[in-house]
C-alpha cells in the first residue's frame, strides 16, 4: 500500500515535470545559450532518473540516464544545441510518458525497452563534438542518429557532476501544496451547505430582536461569503495550464509541415473553473492545429505575399462581463469565402441559389457544419471533415459560443466565449403545479405577462396548437404543467410566460408563476433519472428544499414545439435570404387623406400632445413652447396636400411627433398616431410625390414612408437656414444598395445638415469619390457587388482617399458586435437605422479627419 502511494506521487510529479520539459525545450531551441534554462531541464530529467532508480524502473532509468548525459554535455558547453538534438530529447520525453502511462495502468513498465532510442541517445552523447551538426530544422530524429554516427568517435562523457542545482527547488514549488480534487469538491459541497445554514440563521435573526444574535449572524454572514469566494477560487486554474502544451504542439506541427510559426500567448494567467479548463482542452488544441495547418502559409508563399516568412499564431485570453474570451488568431491566408461556399455546395450543405445571398459572416460559419472541411488535401493533422463542428458542439455544451472571423490575406481569428464556472449559474425560479423549478438564465429571453379579462385570450390556436403573436411573429407555446404531467391550476386571469431559446429556436413556456432570479449550485441527478431529458439537474434552495432545474432543450423537444419551429425558423431564414429585406420598427400614423404613413421609430424622439390653445405663431410658423424652448410645428397635412393648407386643426389636443437633431427639435403635426409595428417591409415602390419616399407593405397593408427631410425643408426652411446645420456642410457619401434604405439613412444625415451623396454600389461609390471631396464614407456591409471590404480596399489604394474615415452599417447589433472583434479596417460600425449612433459616429469621424489633416497620422490606423 505504501509503495502504491509513493508510485502515485511519482507519477503525478513526473507528469508535471514532463509538461514543463516540453515547454522549456522549445524555449531552449530559441535561446540555445540560456544556461539557466538548460540547468532547469537537466534538473528535471535528473529528478526523474533518480526516482526511477529508487523505484527500480530500469527502462525508464536507462533512457533518462542517457538523456541526462547528453544534457550535461550541453550544459558544460562541450556541445552545441541543434534541432536534431532537441527532437531527440523530446523523443525521450515522449518515451518517458509512454512508460509512465504503462506504470499507471498496470504498475509495470511495459514490454517496450526503447532500445533504438537508447542507442541513438548513446551514440549522440558519445559523438565527439556537436558543433559540426547541421542546423537543419527539418532533420528527423532518425537522421540525427545517423549524423551523430558519422561523427563516430568515442570520447566517453565525463561522469556527471551532481550539481547543487539539482537539489535547489524553485521558490514557486515551496509556496504551493498539492491538494486532491476530491477534497476541493467536498469543501465546495460543505461551503454550499454552510451557506444554506447561514441563510436560515439570517432568516431566524430577522424574526427576533436580539442584539447579540444580530451581531453574530452578521459576522457569520460576512465570513461565510468570504469563505465561499475563497473555496470557489481554489477550483480556478489559469488557462496557462492548457496552453503549456501548445508550444510543443505548434513546434511539432511547424517541423512536420515545413513552416515557421511563432506562438504568442497573452493572458495565460486568466482563470477558469477546472471543469471548464478540462472541457476546452481538446477544442483548443484542435483549433491551434487547424491554424498551423490551414492558417499559416509556408514560408515561400508568405514571402511571395509580402509577409515575413515566419507566421504568427496568437492566443489571447481575457475576462469580459463574467465570461472568458479566448481568441486563437493567425496571420495566415484567411478563409476564402468563395471557396467555402463552393465547398458547401459540393457537399450539399448549401444550395447554389442560396450562396449568393449569404453574407460573408454567414458563409464563414459554414465551416462549423458537420462534414465540412476546406482543406484541399487531407493531412494527418487536420482536414478530415471532422473537427470544427465538434469544437463548436463541445464549446456549446458548456454554455460557450464560437465565432470565426477572417480576412483574406490577413488571417483568421476564432473567438471562444466561455462561462467562468459551471458550478454556479444564475437561474429564474418559476412555479408550476405547486412545485418550484429553475430555468437557467442563459436560455431565457424575456418574460411575458398576459392580463386583461382573460389572459388566455391572447393565446391563439392553429389547428389546436397554441401560439402567441409576439411582435408580429408567431411563437409556439408549451404549457409546463402539461409537459410535466402536473395538475393544471384554474384557468388564471393572468398568464405568465417565459420565452426561451434552445439552440437557435425560441418558444414560450406558460408557467403558473414567476418568482425571482437566484444564483444556484447545479447538482447532478441520480442515475435513476438519467432518461429524463426535461431536467438538467437539481439544486438546493434557500429554504433547504430541493428544486429541479429544467433542461430547456429537453422541454422543447418533449412538448414538440421545437421540432415544429425548426422548420419555421428555416423557412423564415430562407425567406429573408430570398428577398433580402430588412426588418425595423416603424411608427404608423395618419394625416389628412393619407391613412397610413410611416417613419422609422429610430428617428422619432417623442410623441406629444399639445392643446390647440398653446399653439402660437412666430415668423410665419406655428410654434409651441416645449421644454423651455420654441418648438416649430409642421402641419403634415398642409405639406402633403398643398391645396389643403392652413385648414383649421380639427383635433384637440394636437398630435405631434417630435424629431430631434442634436439640440434642435421640430414637431410634425399629424391627425392620429396609429401604432408601432415591427415589420418586415416587403414590396416597395418609389413614388414621385412630394414629401414621400415611397410605399411599402407594412402589416399586410400599404403604408407611405415619409421623406422627413423634404417635409421639414419644405415647411420650415427658414428655420433650418437660420440655425444652420450642425455639420457645417460636411459631405458624406452613403453607399447602400437598396434605394429605400438609402433614403432613410440619407434623411437622417440631411436633417443634421450634411451634404449627402448617394451610391448604390461599388462603382457608383468610387465615381462619387472621384467627383466630389468627401469627408466621411458611410457604407452598408453588404454593398454590392462583393461587400464593403472591396470599397475599403479600393479607397486604401488611392493615397488621396486613405485618410477618409469609413463608417460601416450592419443590419443588426449582432453583426456590429461581430465586426468589433475583428480588425475590420473600418473606423466604426453601427446598426443601419440607429440614427443617433450613426450621426454620433459620423460627427466623430468627421472631426477625426480634421485632426488627422493637422497631424500626419493616418486615420485609417485608428480603430
Amino acid at each position: 500500500m505504501q509503495d502504491q502511494d509513493v508510485i502515485r506521487e511519482f507519477l503525478v510529479e513526473s507528469h508535471e515535470n514532463l509538461s514543463r520539459l516540453d515547454q522549456e525545450l522549445v524555449e531552449l531551441e530559441k535561446h540555445p545559450k540560456d544556461a539557466e534554462l538548460l540547468a532547469s531541464i537537466f534538473r528535471t530529467i535528473h529528478t526523474i532518473k533518480g526516482t526511477c532508480g529508487f523505484l527500480a524502473f530500469s527502462t525508464l532509468e536507462r533512457i533518462t540516464h542517457q538523456a541526462e548525459s547528453l544534457l550535461s554535455q550541453l550544459r558544460d558547453g562541450r556541445r552545441e544545441l541543434c534541432p536534431s538534438l532537441v527532437s531527440l530529447i523530446l523523443d525521450t520525453v515522449d518515451a518517458t510518458r509512454k512508460v509512465l502511462a504503462s506504470i499507471e495502468a498496470s504498475g509495470e513498465e511495459g514490454p517496450d525497452r526503447f532500445e533504438e532510442l537508447t542507442e541513438r541517445l548513446q551514440v549522440a552523447s558519445q559523438s565527439r563534438d556537436g558543433r559540426e551538426s547541421r542546423p537543419d530544422p527539418g532533420l528527423t530524429p532518425g537522421s540525427a542518429a545517423e549524423h551523430a554516427e558519422s561523427n563516430g568517435s568515442s570520447e566517453h562523457s565525463e561522469d556527471k557532476k551532481r550539481d547543487d542545482d539539482a537539489a535547489k527547488s524553485s521558490a514557486v514549488a515551496d509556496a504551493n501544496i498539492r491538494v486532491g480534487v476530491g477534497l476541493l469538491d467536498k469543501l465546495m459541497d460543505l461551503v454550499g451547505e454552510l451557506v444554506l445554514t447561514r441563510n436560515q440563521i439570517l432568516q431566524f435573526n430577522t424574526e427576533r430582536e436580539d442584539a447579540a444574535l444580530n451581531v453574530t449572524s452578521q459576522r457569520l454572514n460576512l465570513i461565510t461569503t468570504e469563505l465561499q469566494e475563497g473555496v470557489m477560487k481554489t477550483r480556478m486554474q489559469p488557462i496557462g495550464m492548457v496552453w503549456n502544451k501548445l508550444p510543443r504542439v505548434v513546434r511539432d506541427m511547424a517541423v512536420a509541415l515545413g513552416k515557421q510559426i511563432r506562438l504568442e500567448m497573452d493572458g495565460a494567467e486568466t482563470e477558469l473553473d477546472r471543469t471548464i479548463i478540462e472541457a476546452i482542452k481538446d477544442p483548443l488544441v484542435h483549433l491551434v492545429r487547424n491554424s498551423c495547418d490551414h492558417g499559416v502559409e509556408s514560408p515561400e508563399v508568405r514571402v511571395r505575399a509580402g509577409k515575413p516568412p515566419q507566421g504568427r499564431l496568437n492566443l489571447r485570453a481575457y475576462h469580459e462581463g463574467g465570461q472568458v474570451n479566448i481568441e486563437i488568431g493567425d496571420d495566415g491566408a484567411g478563409i476564402d469565402v468563395a471557396q467555402v461556399k463552393q465547398k458547401a455546395i459540393e457537399k450539399g450543405l448549401l444550395r447554389p441559389e442560396q450562396s449568393d445571398k449569404l453574407t460573408d459572416r454567414e458563409a464563414l460559419n459554414l465551416v462549423f457544419q458537420p462534414g465540412f472541411s476546406t482543406a484541399k488535401t487531407v493531412t494527418n493533422v487536420s482536414g478530415r471533415g471532422v473537427g470544427m463542428d465538434v469544437v463548436k458542439s463541445n464549446i456549446e455544451k458548456i454554455g460557450g459560443v464560437v465565432d470565426v472571423f477572417s480576412r483574406p490575406g490577413e488571417g483568421t481569428t476564432v473567438k471562444l466565449k466561455i462561462p467562468l464556472t459551471l458550478a454556479i449559474i444564475p437561474g429564474l425560479v418559476i412555479m408550476s403545479g405547486g412545485e418550484r423549478f429553475v430555468i437557467p438564465q442563459v436560455s431565457l429571453l424575456e418574460l411575458i405577462r398576459l392580463e386583461g379579462d382573460s389572459g388566455e385570450k391572447h393565446i391563439e390556436r392553429v389547428h389546436g396548437t397554441p401560439v402567441y403573436r409576439r411582435r408580429g411573429s408567431l411563437l409556439p407555446i408549451a404549457y409546463l404543467n402539461q409537459v410535466l404531467g402536473l395538475e393544471s391550476a384554474e384557468r388564471a386571469e393572468v398568464v405568465s410566460m417565459v420565452v426561451l431559446q434552445a439552440e437557435d429556436r425560441q418558444f414560450g413556456l406558460v408557467v403558473d408563476g414567476i418568482n425571482d432570479t437566484q444564483e444556484i449550485v447545479v447538482k447532478p441527478l441520480g442515475k435513476q433519472m438519467k432518461g429524463l431529458t426535461v431536467y438538467a439537474g437539481a439544486t438546493i434552495m434557500g429554504d433547504g428544499r430541493v428544486a429541479l432545474i429544467l433542461d430547456v432543450l429537453g422541454i422543447g423537444q418533449r412538448s414538440g414545439v421545437l421540432a415544429e419551429s425548426r422548420e419555421q425558423a428555416r423557412a423564415a431564414a430562407e425567406q429573408k435570404m430570398q428577398s433580402g429585406i430588412e426588418q425595423q420598427r416603424l411608427l404608423l400614423f395618419r394625416a389628412g387623406s393619407f391613412e397610413r404613413l410611416a417613419v422609422p421609430l429610430s428617428l422619432v424622439a417623442r410623441l406629444e400632445e399639445f392643446p390647440q390653445s398653446s399653439i402660437e405663431h412666430a415668423g410665419g410658423c406655428q410654434v409651441v413652447q416645449y421644454r423651455n424652448r420654441i418648438l416649430p410645428l409642421i402641419p403634415l397635412r398642409a405639406v402633403l396636400e398643398s391645396g389643403a393648407a392652413d385648414q383649421d386643426q380639427t383635433v384637440d389636443p394636437v398630435q405631434v411627433i417630435v424629431f430631434n437633431d442634436g439640440d434642435r427639435s421640430v414637431g410634425v403635426v399629424v391627425d392620429q398616431i396609429l401604432d408601432v409595428a415591427e415589420e418586415t417591409v416587403t414590396v416597395r415602390q418609389k413614388t414621385g410625390r412630394k414629401g414621400l419616399l415611397g410605399s411599402a407593405v407594412v402589416g399586410k397593408r400599404v403604408a407611405d414612408f415619409l421623406d422627413l427631410n423634404q417635409v421639414i425643408r419644405t415647411a420650415a426652411e427658414d428655420w433650418f437656414q437660420s440655425t444652420g446645420g450642425s455639420a457645417n456642410g460636411k459631405r458624406i457619401l452613403v453607399a447602400e444598395a437598396s434605394a429605400f434604405s438609402r433614403g432613410l439613412i440619407r434623411s437622417g444625415f440631411d436633417m443634421a445638415g450634411y451634404q449627402v451623396l448617394e451610391a448604390a454600389n461599388l462603382d457608383e461609390a468610387i465615381r462619387g469619390l472621384e467627383q466630389h471631396p468627401v469627408d466621411v464614407v458611410v457604407t452598408a456591409l453588404d454593398l454590392p457587388p462583393s461587400g464593403s471590404s472591396a470599397l475599403l480596399t479600393a479607397m486604401r489604394r488611392r493615397t488621396e482617399w486613405q485618410g477618409i474615415p469609413i463608417l460601416a452599417l450592419a443590419d443588426s447589433a449582432e453583426q456590429v458586435r461581430a465586426r468589433a472583434g475583428q480588425a475590420a479596417g473600418f473606423q466604426d460600425c453601427q446598426v443601419k437605422f440607429d440614427r443617433e449612433a450613426m450621426l454620433g459616429s459620423v460627427a466623430r469621424l468627421a472631426s477625426t479627419l480634421a485632426s488627422s489633416e493637422a497631424a500626419p497620422v493616418c486615420a485609417g490606423e485608428e480603430r
Partner: protein
C-alpha cells in the same frame, strides 16, 4: 462524491455478517450494516414529475441531493395505508447515496451463515431480482436485499 471511488468500492465489497433490518408491508428485509449510511424520519421531498413512479422524490441530505425510492412500489406491493409515513434508510451505492423509503426500521441482527438459502424460485419476479437470499431466523425469514440492484431501476423489469 468526495470519497475516493476505490475506497468506496472496497467498503461496498466488504460484508460484516450484520444486517440492518426493516419492514416493507409484511416482508422483513436486511441490508448489510456497512452499507447503511444513516436512518432518517420522513423528510420533505421534492417530487420529480415524469420520473419512474418508484422515485418518490429528492431530499436534501445536508447539501447532498439524494433520490428517494419507494420500496413498496419497487417491490410492486400495495401502497401504504393513509397516514403512515415511511422512514428513510439511506444506503451507500456505487453511484452515491440513495434513500429507500420503508415502512418501519428494525434492529441490527447478527445472522448465522448456516441458515442462508437461495431465494425460492417461485418468488414474484419483481422481488426475485432484488433479493439475494434468505436467512431462516427462528421466528421469521430475513430477506437479504441487493441494494445495487434495488437502485438500478432497469433491474427486475425484465421478466
Amino acid at each position: 462524491m468526495g470519497t475516493d471511488t476505490a475506497t468506496m468500492k472496497s467498503v461496498l465489497a466488504q460484508t460484516s455478517g450484520q444486517f440492518s433490518t426493516f419492514f416493507v408491508a409484511d416482508l422483513f428485509f436486511g441490508v448489510d450494516v456497512l452499507r447503511v449510511q444513516e436512518v432518517l424520519r420522513f423528510q420533505q421531498m421534492t417530487r420529480v414529475p415524469q420520473a419512474p413512479d418508484v422515485i418518490e422524490g429528492l431530499i436534501n441530505l445536508r447539501g447532498q441531493i439524494v433520490t428517494a425510492i419507494d420500496m413498496r412500489r419497487r417491490l410492486r406491493l400495495p401502497p401504504r395505508a393513509g397516514g403512515q409515513t415511511p422512514m428513510n434508510m439511506v444506503v451507500r451505492t456505487e453511484d452515491g447515496a440513495v434513500s429507500l423509503l420503508v415502512d418501519e426500521i428494525g434492529d441490527v441482527l447478527d445472522v448465522d451463515a448456516a441458515t442462508y438459502e437461495r431465494p425460492p424460485e417461485n418468488l414474484d419476479p419483481a422481488a426475485r431480482d432484488l433479493i439475494r437470499g434468505v436467512y431462516k431466523l427462528k421466528d421469521r425469514l430475513l430477506l437479504v436485499l441487493d441494494a445495487e440492484r434495488t437502485v438500478d431501476l432497469a433491474a427486475g423489469r425484465a421478466v
